[in-house]
Assembly symmetry: C2
Homo-oligomer: 428 residues x 2
């Protein structure tokens, strides 16, 4: 009996996990490699960062998800290189041979060359970043409580979110909920509703991925919630106690102790690594330029999917969203099976745009599904439905649904713990 | 109008929080000081350490719990000293004057002079320790998966729990559940059911606080679950890769990568600090020796409650358990109100022993309530009922109940995330 075809998948995010699940029952030997032991539902990380959900609510252990898929092995390891001619992925602890390779290592925050901003303005890509942001936001209110009215208190009750995409909008809306409702009666000396929440966006409108009408509606909804929306504004410097923002040609100094980064992502460094090893090119965001079938030019057995791929569908770039990664993961897995069955012509990947949505706060969201544009409560319900549907495990779904229902009714966010290894958890 | 009587409470655990809540509506000005922003339900920390619950399930933000109690202010700060003659608690950021003082800062792990053991054998007192133990246990299985059968794999699948009290017993039982059920089908190369779980107890029986009959039943139940129970055995050394255990006069070396400490607690260092400031004495465990009314001799306005107090009821020491702290907190708060009302004779604190209980695993527990001794499923149901009842917030109760129900039905533990700031989360 010939040895089974070995499929190695790097990354257990939306793209990699979908690829592994699509190969269920196929006559291949699958190895899924990830640095973490869980799949993370990144679109809901902002809920962890604002105390609405616990990390475990939006994470599912990879071994648990793939437990019943007997042709799939999970390896907890870090990829350090690729041996293309030897057909192996080199990890820290082992060398894993492949016949076909799917790389789906996702993206990290992009500070556009300002790496020093990271410590002052964490992004929302990992559980640790989310709990760190949660610690900073809650600690800022604690600091504000101990200062009298004045510049110090103002600094601690000013929150700056950089980037007006879905992540930034959701984050700004959730901070507003915290300040205006959840925490309102928690403090004796401080009126948290006087907080200033600033959303800074470089282009001339927020939610650029949406039709202009929805951008406007989203902006209005944020403003009603007390969020200041600064479009055509760019962060020029970020320090521990202030940010410099360029707006209308002026440099404005905003005193703040809490900055959240949502202004951009770039592909995992594995993108550059595989490109160097195969002679492929990467774009400005570090994404690997792939063929229409998602493979690397000259390497029909190496697929790049998800946020790491600069993929094109019908002449347009595939957006870096969960549904894009899911579709690409499924396509790559099916392409491998087809080629093994002697059908090398798998055609080109075509992205079926299921639409975009962003929640803004309680009862408010914007959604676009094909020609359909939704706003307000209906959009919010649609957002809820879609996110619950995509959550990986049933247990998570029910827990999140219940927690949301509870938070909705009580306006509470019970997961607002200040945790960390720091001896004094209050220090920012 | 005279200024209100100032009651300062140090610590938001069972004792301090109960004291604050008991003063609701009283004509006093209450300040509750804690280093953390949440009350933690410590008896369930072992569930966090073994992936059954999320930290937020067993924590309640102090401000949220006390939100409606208008005479109570919460201060997030660390106590650094006491000015007894000046009647003030000195914190890192402010000086808080008091007329009456209740100190309830709890206990920390006691390594009996072997501070160097702490890094190899974390205890179960904080959220951070619990998630660290969770990381170590899950990472050990991951390491075992990558090693072939042999000494290395054995080391990673050997778990040593030091201390056979309720904490140690619950921890050993929960690790056994993980190894024998939850993780059983998660690994391809490793049979987690072959794990070795060792419970080491210095005295001649586990669960010493219980009647001997229940100790025996508990030991039998653990053994049925595959836990080796070593009584009359003492840890003599703990290193990263092994422990030395003295048993029957012999020194035995046990290779293990994962040790959990449940062998003892000592009072918070604030005990020694207040004793030095007031001329009180502390016992071997660092607990402050108090009068029958829980005050410090010569200081009728300073109360010590909970794990920090060496309190006596009817000639017997009050055990360091949640119910003891709760009763003491209530007593101290009521004593303050009585004395303010001109009734200085508050009598002696009397502990009403509500019984003790420890869960051993699915369907198994031991419980003693007065003359009533329960074991097995009934004891387990009683344990469940009592723990749900004592959980502070309603939201927590429902979430925990649901999560437990789900874990019970599926034998799943969905909160088994390996998290931490370490770049490589697998490294122990």
């Amino acid at each position: 009996m010939a040895e089974q075809h070995k499929v190695v998948i790097v990354g257990g995010g939306f793209g990699g996990l979908t690829a592994a699940q699509t190969l269920k029952g196929a006559d291949v030997d699958v190895t899924l490699i990830d640095r973490r032991n869980f799949h993370l539902f990144q679109p809901l990380l902002y809920q962890v960062a604002t105390g609405g959900l616990s990390p475990a609510n939006i994470a599912a252990p990879l071994r648990s998800v793939l437990r019943k898929q007997r042709n799939c092995r999970v390896v907890l390891d870090e990829v350090t290189g690729f041996d293309i001619s030897g057909r192996a992925v080199i990890c820290r602890d082992e060398r894993i041979p492949f016949d076909s390779l799917i790389i789906a290592a996702g993206a990290t925050n992009n500070y556009f060359g300002k790496a020093e901003w990271e410590k002052h303005a964490p992004g929302l890509k990992t559980v640790e970043e989310a709990t760190e942001i949660r610690r900073r936001i809650l600690s800022a209110f604690e600091e504000a409580e101990r200062h009298p009215d004045g510049p110090n208190r103002e600094r601690y009750t000013t929150f700056v979110v950089v980037g007006g995409g879905a992540t930034g909008v959701e984050m700004a809306g959730a901070i507003s909920e915290l300040a205006h409702h959840t925490l309102r009666k928690d403090f004796r000396n401080l009126d948290t509703a006087k907080s200033r929440i600033l959303l800074v966006e470089g282009s001339n409108r927020i939610l650029e991925a949406f039709p202009e009408k929805l951008s406007r509606k989203g902006e209005k909804a944020l403003q009603r919630m007390g969020v200041e929306v600064w479009t055509s504004s760019k962060a020029r410097d970020i320090q521990a106690d202030h940010v410099m923002i360029e707006r209308d040609g002026k440099q404005l100094r905003v005193e703040t102790a809490t900055v959240v980064w949502g202004a951009g992502v770039r592909a995992s460094p594995l993108g550059k690594m595989i490109a160097d090893a195969t002679g492929a090119t990467v774009d400005r965001g570090g994404r690997v330029v792939v063929q229409p079938d998602l493979t690397i030019p000259g390497h029909p057995n190496i697929y790049i999917v998800g946020d790491m791929a600069a993929a094109v569908s019908d002449g347009r770039p595939v957006p870096g969203v969960a549904t894009g990664a899911i579709e690409e993961g499924k396509f790559a897995a099916k392409a491998i099976v087809k080629r093994l069955a002697g059908k090398p012509d798998v055609g080109a990947f075509r992205y079926w745009d299921k639409g975009s949505m962003a929640t803004i706060g309680r009862n408010a969201a914007v959604a676009q599904v094909g020609w359909l544009k939704l706003t307000g409560f209906i959009a919010w319900l649609a957002w809820l439905f879609v996110h619950i549907t995509y959550l990986i495990s049933f247990s998570n779904r029910v827990m999140v649904l219940f927690q949301w229902f509870w938070n909705y009714v009580t306006r509470n966010r019970s997961a607002r713990l200040i945790t960390g290894t720091d001896a004094d958890p209050r220090r920012v």
